[in-house]
């Protein structure tokens, strides 16, 4: 059987590279074209044409295309690659599972998340623009509350270096197309499927193909993309964050270090919310930056930790097609081994205990069902300075600490999501005025909670567009 070939998409043209990455999916060879960096740089010179193709279409129409694309992505048969073969939703979920280690159940739930982001695009855009009419993107200005408001795009494109850990992150770049900004994507090595399928769905729904650059490429090509686009998003570790921190046009999504903080008024009631905490830690296999990696409680740490450890330790690796599978396998077994060894090394530092060790059914690192897994791990730490207290790994991993409520905000550090279990008004205000929390859930909610009208990880509209002061009374548009 000839290989399925996923080509480079060069802003309207498909291109087969001689450099490829090869996979095997259910006995079917799969080749991915790899673009060299010079090829990307040449293509980026064509971006003004891509923007013009999007600007020629009314925003309302683009919203309709996105809603239609949502259905095609979730239910349609779309091109697998550059040939005639079509990929059904099941083909996609199974292949995604095999390449990324996500069980089928999580592959499908991620499809649901991405579909929701697309089908709720009106709410998403409205949330990002704080309710401005869509015609803003057609005319550049709208009248709001009697005031003329003018925004202009600060870039001709959005470059995105995607990760492979969870297909759900693709929902972040989707609104750019409706805002008439072309996208230039570098897929993660293990997940070229999701952005390619999304692009195919969007083209089939009506988006101009010139609006999409899809470049599986090397690190050098990734840098080319980041520095060749006016605005870019990169995902990665703390090292990635440090590398790109000096560049204002690059928005780096590093480690999330998301947390649950339980205030004095909820500290005795934790048993009622145990499942929410477990969900925050283990949902999506613990792979998301919005998974909780630390739980801070002002009292009753040990009883909470013990109950959490029992629940987490009961989550067992299951075959990838098992409907109840929660844990993801590691596409690269060496990574799992390295994480396991690192955890054991850091546990040698006094002040931390792996509480799940005594409850789980075997070692943390395990080969099962032909895959490599790390079993969930809960660490009880004495203080936030312990190296395991405020970190995260790509599997269900969390620390539990007892910290006085009054000291929590000062100690948590940069946190992508904080779910604050409290009704304390004064503390809520302190939380809302703190500078180290990106998304705040007030109440006993999972850190995984998504509200479409709220921006996730920065506001994409504000990243791409800038408001211009507009004065005078001669606006003639």
């Amino acid at each position: 059987m000839s290989a399925i070939h996923i080509p480079v998409l060069r802003l309207g043209q498909t291109y087969r590279s001689l450099d490829t990455i090869k996979f095997n999916v259910s006995g079917q060879p799969l080749e991915i074209s790899v673009a060299n960096s010079g090829l990307i740089r040449r293509d980026l010179q064509q971006l003004p044409k891509s923007g013009a193709a999007l600007r020629a279409i009314p925003c309302e129409t683009l919203v309709g295309y996105m809603e239609k694309a949502a259905e095609l992505y979730l239910h349609g048969s779309l091109p697998w690659g550059d040939g005639d073969r079509l990929q059904s939703p099941d083909d996609y979920a199974v292949a995604l599972s095999q390449l990324t280690g996500l069980p089928h159940s999580l592959a499908r739930s991620n499809m649901g998340k991405v579909h929701a982001a697309m089908s709720n695009i009106r709410a998403v855009i409205s949330g990002l623009t704080r309710g401005m009419p869509l015609e803003l993107f057609d005319r550049g200005f709208v009248r709001q509350n009697g005031l003329d408001v003018n925004f202009f795009a600060e870039t001709t494109s959005l470059g995105v270096l995607l990760p492979s850990n969870s297909p759900g992150v693709n929902s972040l770049w989707l609104p750019a197309l409706v805002m008439k900004i072309p996208v230039v994507l570098k897929p993660g090595r293990e997940d070229p499927l999701t952005p390619f399928r999304l692009i195919q769905a969007m083209i089939a729904a009506g988006f101009p193909r010139e609006a999409f650059g899809f470049y599986p490429t090397t690190h050098d090509g990734g840098d080319t993309l980041l520095f060749g686009t006016g605005r870019a998003i990169a995902f990665g570790s703390d090292a990635t964050l440090k590398k790109y921190a000096p560049y204002r046009h690059i928005n780096v999504h590093g480690s999330g270090r998301s947390k649950i903080v339980i205030g004095d008024d909820f500290a005795a009631d934790w048993p009622k919310h145990l499942d929410v905490i477990v969900n925050s830690i283990a949902a999506n296999g613990g792979r998301s930056c919005i998974n909780c990696s630390s739980v801070l409680i002002s009292n009753n740490r040990d009883t909470l930790a013990d109950a959490l450890a029992r629940k987490l330790a009961a989550i067992e690796p299951l075959p990838r097609d098992h409907p109840d599978a929660i844990l993801c396998s590691f596409a690269n077994p060496k990574s799992a081994k390295a994480i396991d060894e690192r955890l054991e090394e850091l546990l040698q530092t006094p002040g931390a205990v792996d509480l799940t060790a005594k409850y789980r059914n075997g070692p943390r690192l395990v080969e099962m069902h032909g895959q490599t897994f790390l079993r969930p791990t809960l660490i009880v730490c004495d203080d936030l300075h312990h190296p395991l207290a405020n970190t995260e790994y790509g599997f269900p991993f969390a620390s539990v600490l007892q910290v006085p409520q009054s000291k929590m905000i000062g100690q948590i550090g940069e946190s992508l999501v904080v779910s604050a279990f409290t009704r304390d008004q004064a503390w809520s205000i302190d939380l809302m005025t703190s500078t180290n929390i990106e998304r705040l859930n007030l109440g006993p909610y999972s850190t995984m909670r998504v509200q479409w009208e709220q921006p996730h990880e920065g506001n994409l509209f504000e990243f791409l567009y800038r408001r211009r002061a507009l004065q005078g009374d001669l606006v003639a548009v």
Partner: protein, 357 residues
């Protein structure tokens, strides 16, 4: 101009040349201080024991190029050249004390042979432009000699690879990009204001330059590159897009120690995979098993590149390059082994700063 020898004849010529060069370098009348002193402590006499090229691999251990950093260059001056001042050439992107080799006419021999190989039409008559590392490198004189040998003149734009390496090493990517732009600005200016027909540069600079202008419209007819890894995809990109399928393209593999290996003419069957052939017998490339470098790998397999240079000016036996390549068989242009799809040694398992210029 292709070699007229058959592979057995080429092998025989290499063996004859080997005996001649060994006699030259290990004779007290003509050899250099470094190798003569080495022979005294080696416990064997190369002049007696080296009968053919294969004996080099059997008898000599791998040349440690660090001596080119630690020893004074004078120690490598053959007695026969003692009365002629020499050129000192340094290796490309080295930081710290550079490795240096002495030389007189080798670079002229290499580049005249290169010029003859391509004949008059591949690089049509006209001015040359070199954009790349000049400074203490052999390349700068070599490219000018190439132009002069063909009856032409050459313009130069310098790039200091050591500075680029330093910038990348310290994470100053923005400054590295600015420096690259500075180099390209100068090259673009020359191309716009002077009549340039042929160019030498590195692949990376070539593609950067083509992002500024159509090289075809700029009047270029022939381009000669060397310096970094070129995968088949990269070659295809350069041929089809950078050179728009209209400019002659001559990729080379070489360095200060070897000279210049020429790539065989690409055919459809090659699918843009390059194969280079050393300027044998003056230099010979073997592809050896990295775990047992006395053993050649099979044709079609990757191995480490081993260089032996034997000219009257310079002797380097069995130097293990920092590259790996596919061993390729002799071809109609070159009746000896070639090295294909060269890339940095162990590039699949470690991070390498390459392609900086």
């Amino acid at each position: 101009m292709s070699s007229t020898l058959t592979p057995p004849q080429a092998q025989s010529a290499l063996d004859t040349w080997t005996r001649k060069m060994i006699a030259w370098h290990f004779s007290p009348a003509t050899g250099c201080d470094y190798w003569l002193k080495w022979a005294k402590t080696a416990g064997w006499d190369p002049r007696k024991e080296i009968k053919c090229f294969a004996d080099i691999a059997k008898k000599f251990s791998h040349f440690d190029d660090d001596v080119l950093r630690t020893e004074q260059p004078e120690r490598f001056v053959p007695k026969a050249y003692a009365k002629r001042p020499y050129n000192v050439f340094e290796t490309g992107g080295t930081t710290g004390m550079p490795k240096q080799r002495v030389g007189w006419d080798d670079y002229k021999t290499d580049y005249e042979e290169y010029s003859d190989h391509y004949g008059p039409n591949f690089f049509p008559k006209g001015n040359w432009l070199m954009v790349g590392p000049t400074g203490p490198r052999r390349l700068r004189l070599a490219v000018e000699h190439l132009a002069n040998y063909r009856g032409d003149s050459c313009y130069f734009v310098d790039l200091d690879p050591r500075f680029v390496k330093r910038l990348i090493g310290t994470g100053e990517m923005a400054m590295a990009r600015k420096y690259q732009e500075h180099v390209i600005d100068q090259a673009a200016t020359i191309l716009r204001h002077r009549k340039i027909t042929n160019m030498f540069t590195t692949p990376r600079l070539l593609e950067n330059l083509a992002e500024r202008m159509s090289l075809v419209k700029a009047g270029l007819k022939g381009v000669f590159v060397g310096g970094t890894t070129m995968t088949p995809q990269y070659v295809r990109f350069v041929v089809e897009e950078v050179l728009e399928g209209k400019i002659n393209f001559a990729p080379t593999y070489g360095n200060t120690l070897m000279g210049l290996a020429i790539s065989k003419k690409l055919t459809k069957a090659d699918n843009y995979s390059l194969t280079y052939y050393a300027p044998q017998p003056r230099a010979t490339l073997r592809i050896v098993n990295p775990d047992n470098p006395s053993e050649l790998v099979n044709y079609g397999e990757y191995g480490r590149v081993e260089l032996t240079t034997m000219t009257k000016e310079f002797f380097v036996p069995r130097f293990l390059e920092r590259d790996e390549a596919i061993r390729r068989p002799p071809c109609s242009e070159f009746p000896w082994d070639g090295v294909g799809d060269v890339r940095p040694f162990q590039s699949l398992t470690k991070t390498i700063i390459e392609g900086v210029y």
